[in-house]
Amino acid sequence: MSTVSEVVAFACLLAGAALCLTAGLGLVRFPDVLSRMHAGTKPQVLGVLLVMVGAAIRLDGWANAWMLLLVAAFQLLTAPVSAHLISRVAYRRRHVRRDLLLVDEYGGRGHQDERYRGDEPGDAPPERPGRGSAG
């Protein structure tokens, strides 16, 4: 194995690990669930991809490379779906820091969540009760 590929693999592994670290940092530092899901998708997926590339260079043999390709593909396919479901539930449960929102185009269209203020516990009463029930 040549030195160049060693260096490339090393760089990929290091960068991927660093990105996964920032994803973890983001989970701690970001203010609400929706922002945390950003940290859980983008830097994390990119980090995993880079680690896979580094590992594929470092490990000899196509059998390993195919397996890593599969891991990368399923990471790309599944991370957005799980992030979508979690953030959707978080929105429905009103775990949203509305004071941080610059624009909110989702609330106004007869959506039931418009009657709730912001980052409240899930069983908080609606702001304008009486117009139908949320259930």
Partner: protein, 188 residues
């Protein structure tokens, strides 16, 4: 689900079987006839026990636009990964966020799914909701500094949609990109 002729049914199942066999082969990591046959057996068993509704209006790939999309996708993946990573480590904490709605134009389950997946990964956005009837996608945008940036990111989602339609869409989808459709519901 309507009952369809056996030939159409078979044609819709073939890509799924091929994909499952491919995954099986990749998992084993080596090519052999035994792997191929056992993969076929497993794929057919899975599809018989867990039948999926077939995807309407897919199975059309244009190689050159697909390459264009993939190239932009990889670049965007790095850019957005770096951007969110910077938001996570920078001393001042995150910028403001936004929830926006984007009116998409493609009318195909497959393309809408791909747009939603791609926008979740790429331009600083996360899909909150996708209204299939009206093709309205609700997104959460993470680093936004001002209203101009919100508009830029919304426009970028439409660019991603255009690239995907050019790679996978039917002629009707391509036409829908430019002209407004009759049944399009204006934002109210």
């Amino acid at each position: 689900m309507t009952v369809e002729p056996a030939a159409t049914r078979l044609r819709h199942q073939v890509p799924l079987v091929a994909w499952l066999v491919l995954v099986w082969m990749l998992l084993w990591g080596t090519w052999s006839w035994a792997n191929l046959l056992s993969g076929l057996l497993v794929a057919l068993t899975v599809l018989t026990l867990l039948p999926l509704p077939h995807v309407v209006g897919g199975a059309r790939v244009r190689p050159l636009p697909l390459l264009v999309f993939l190239g932009h996708f990889v670049v965007d993946l790095f850019a957005s990964g770096a951007e969110v990573a910077w938001q996570a480590v920078r001393p001042g904490g995150v910028h403001r966020t936004a929830i926006v709605q984007v009116q998409l134009r493609a009318d195909s389950d497959l393309i809408l799914t791909m747009v939603a997946e791609a926008t979740s990964l790429v331009p600083g956005s996360l899909v909150l909701d996708l209204d299939r009837e009206q093709r309205v996608m609700t997104l959460h945008l993470l680093p936004v500094r001002d209203h101009d940036e919100v508009e830029r990111k919304k426009a970028h989602v439409l660019v991603v949609e255009r690239r995907l339609v050019q790679a996978f869409g039917s002629a009707a989808d391509l036409a829908a990109l430019d002209g407004h459709r009759r049944d399009e519901v204006p934002a109210s």
